[in-house]
Symmetry: C2
Subunit: 329 residues, 2 copies
């Protein structure tokens, strides 16, 4: 690997940290990219944030990223740039990094780092600390990072996974409404909300099944569940169950990476719209503390652009290193 | 209505039963039709059963039924025929009967009866008795018929309904496999079964979501859940839950139609592939008897062609009458 210009971070056998690389490469501008399915953003060092259309995970990723790199660097006059991207849909980070490097060489790029966006989300929420980040929007994915291992939990989509996500909450709400309609379940104020969108409940399932945006549409009812949770027992029950599911995912992830081990505390960050419901947040916190008393739970934001910019700066023995694709040009 | 030739059964104010119609019309051959989404069958009186392609519920129903009538009667030389069909996808039975009557008049048809196939399934399982029929295959629907009312319970599709169906069981199995994979749930022998179809579990959800036959594919795992239930606690738990869900649907349906009322017993028939699992059948029976001790539960078959042939023979005050479309020519 040495000399080829390709490889994971610092492949030199006598180099113990990533810092050796700054002796090989002069300090360089970093173009951070957060490529998600609702939009792509880029930022050079701490400058202005630029926005682009969402990444299409059903199309080759590298050409889409190369276009963002070209537009971001055009006219900047920068050379020796480090491109560092957290990208949705990445299954083999090194392959995407290799492909991207070939495409962006003409634009003044010296190094390319690529990782799945769950990694940049983790870094943007917890930095280089060990622990777990659970990101719950329409879907949900949990990433736990220990001393030597990382573990993804759930993120298995609306049909067989995403327990506790916005979709999961919205689907449970519609199910509860049909149960009340049938007499299989208790009456709920959710019925009125759903009737405003589906005035004929018996035909709702037909329009759901034929709706190409059904996942987003169903997830949109999660907000109403949150709005009604103070006064409606069915809504409150759904949110408590969601918090329980999310806590189970975090506890499983921590266990798989050997945390808390002997530590007196372990960091957990809960990010995404689902946690804006105090009912979900409270149920998540109490359920997790029952399983992992050492958890230090904070509900907060992720800064995935900052997380992407951190990819070149991780210690070489960090558990995330093996998941980052890296190319020098 | 009298004189127009259109209307529900026996609209004459001084006629108390359907039998009066046999004094108006000579005894006539009956062409029974069972038009389902996996195939259409027809039968003249108790003669040979003929098969046709499935009904397309996304296309107009009457022309498809007229074609079956034409092919079934062609060369028979019969006149004064009563066409009596249980048809999937019917929302307004009278409209379909009206449209069908116009199309089949040239083929020797004297009367047309049309009902939703859940009604012919009910009649084919319980005859003209009161009670409930729950039909559980890939989907599930329950129909309860009381003295004066009928009630459909569930049948709301794979996204927000069909609790206890083959799809519901198969989806729960795949969910359990991913939970075991993540460490969120117990190990299960279901994993080996699923791996045979999806060797890379983390990418299973992608292939499921893009599979146009996903509902049938997911439901196909229900059989394996049944096969493993003797030795695998996760599989057994899924089937027990399915039985509980199906019992809840029947109990809700009976309550809505006022059964058992003062009766010492009420008939319940459980039909469809899902009940071929003894675990589902046992859980269903015990869970239902806890809720409705008067239930006389039998697992058995429906004979929807026989049920369709019964449509012209119901007493005029039967609770199903209002759901049957009827036209005389």
């Amino acid at each position: 690997m040495p000399g080829s210009g390709h490889g994971y971070l610092c492949p030199m056998p006598d180099c113990n940290t990533i810092r050796c690389m700054t002796t090989t490469f002069p300090p360089a501008p970093v173009l951070a990219i957060d490529a998600g399915q609702s939009g792509i953003r880029s930022q050079i060092d701490s400058g202005e944030v630029r926005s682009f259309a969402a990444i299409r995970t059903d199309l080759p990723l590298a050409p889409q990223l190369a276009s963002v790199v070209e537009q971001s660097l055009r006219g900047s006059g920068l050379t020796g740039v480090t491109v560092s991207g957290g990208v949705s849909g990445v299954t083999h980070a090194q392959t995407v990094a290799d492909e991207l490097a070939l495409l962006v060489e003409p634009f003044g790029v010296a190094r390319v780092f690529v990782a799945h966006d769950s990694i940049s989300a983790f870094l943007g929420a917890l930095g280089s600390e060990l622990g777990a980040v659970v990101a719950a929007g329409t879907g949900v994915v949990t990433l736990a990072v220990g001393e030597e291992r990382l573990a993804q939990v759930d993120g298995w989509g609306y049909l067989v996974g995403d327990a506790g996500s916005g979709y999961w909450i919205g689907r449970a709400a519609l199910d509860a409404v049909m149960r009340a309609f049938d007499g299989r379940g208790p009456e709920t104020a959710l019925t009125e909300v759903v009737l405003a969108h589906h005035p004929d409940l018996p035909s709702m399932y037909v329009s759901l099944q034929t709706n190409e945006g059904k996942v987003r549409h169903i997830a949109s009812f999660a907000r109403s569940v949150g709005d009604l949770a103070e006064t409606d027992a069915v809504a409150a029950g759904i949110l408590a169950s969601a918090g329980f599911q999310l806590a189970a995912s975090v506890a499983a992830g921590l266990a798989r990476v050997g945390l808390p081990g002997g530590r007196s505390e372990v960091q957990v960050r809960a990010i995404g719209n689902v946690f804006s419901s105090p009912h979900v947040a409270a149920a998540f916190r109490s359920s997790l503390l029952e399983r992992v008393p050492e958890a230090r739970v904070a509900v907060g934001e992720s800064h995935p652009l900052d997380g992407a910019a951190m990819l070149p700066h991780l210690e070489k023995d960090h558990a995330l290193i093996a998941s980052i694709g890296f190319v020098t040009l």
